[in-house]
Subunit: 157 residues, 2 copies
């Protein structure tokens, strides 16, 4: 009897977790689509390009291709293409590393830095607008849960 009850509890809890995951995915997708569209319309830049610029902005010393791929959680081959195009357009630069001829760091050019700062300001205000209803307490709460989730799922082994 107790086992049965526990099973039933687990079952509905797992359904509830699934439901949360689907909601989270949906909210993310909605916001992401909105951001993608505004980036395109306002700055004629794609979301993946924006993401790469943002990662590099957070690391003024530059990032290797591998570090960039890990930071963005995308495949290494993927980064190659985006960086190629950003390089062609003068937003980023591949800088050889002194002691390792295999690796290069990628850095923002002054143009890339300047353009990103403009986009980042708009981006922040869009997010602020889309999350208008959330106060500080709610936000801290959410952040804590998400942090825990990410570690649990990502396998910090």
């Amino acid at each position: 009897m107790k086992v049965m009850a526990a099973e039933n509890n687990n079952l509905s809890l797992s359904k509830q977790r699934l439901r949360l995951w689907l909601r989270m995915l949906r909210a993310s997708k909605t916001i992401e689509n909105e951001v993608r569209e505004r980036l395109k319309k306002t700055f004629d830049v794609t979301l993946p390009r924006f993401d790469v610029l943002a990662a590099l902005y957070r690391h003024p010393e530059g990032l290797t291709m591998t570090a960039l791929s890990r930071d963005l959680e995308v495949s290494n081959g993927n980064v190659t293409g985006i960086v190629d195009r950003l390089t062609k357009d003068g937003f980023v630069l591949r800088v050889p590393i002194a002691n390792d001829r295999r690796a290069t760091t990628v850095q923002l050019t002054p143009k890339g830095k300047g353009e990103f700062e403009i986009m980042a300001e708009a981006h922040e205000s869009w997010i602020d607008e889309m999350m208008e209803s959330l106060n500080e307490a709610r936000i801290d709460e959410m952040i804590a849960v998400l942090e825990q989730l990410k570690n649990e799922a990502g396998g910090v082994e």
Copy 2:
């Protein structure tokens, strides 16, 4: 002085909201990547295909291409390709609509339904595992916030 304080408050709140968004995106991406990899390894199916099957499973009467595209929040042209491939592999079926020669509904085949049920069970257990630390209260809390967020961002105008 009061204005100044308010501005500072707003500024840090908007940064906090941005921070939340980035965490949410990161958690989603981590879980999504994990699910994608497991679907591929376990069932040799891609995540977009799984998403389409899931949407159709929730609507046994079938969905038009437009409804499917809206449900998944992806472009209409995107759905065409995925449904094409699922059709070729015998998972779904395009069924003409009686009164409207422009539209077709898409439905799961028995094979599609059967295969999806197997995948869905595994999928649910993966999510359960990845969200092990979240209890019912936390989950309900999160769902409420996410629901609000989605409506705010998605423009329910």
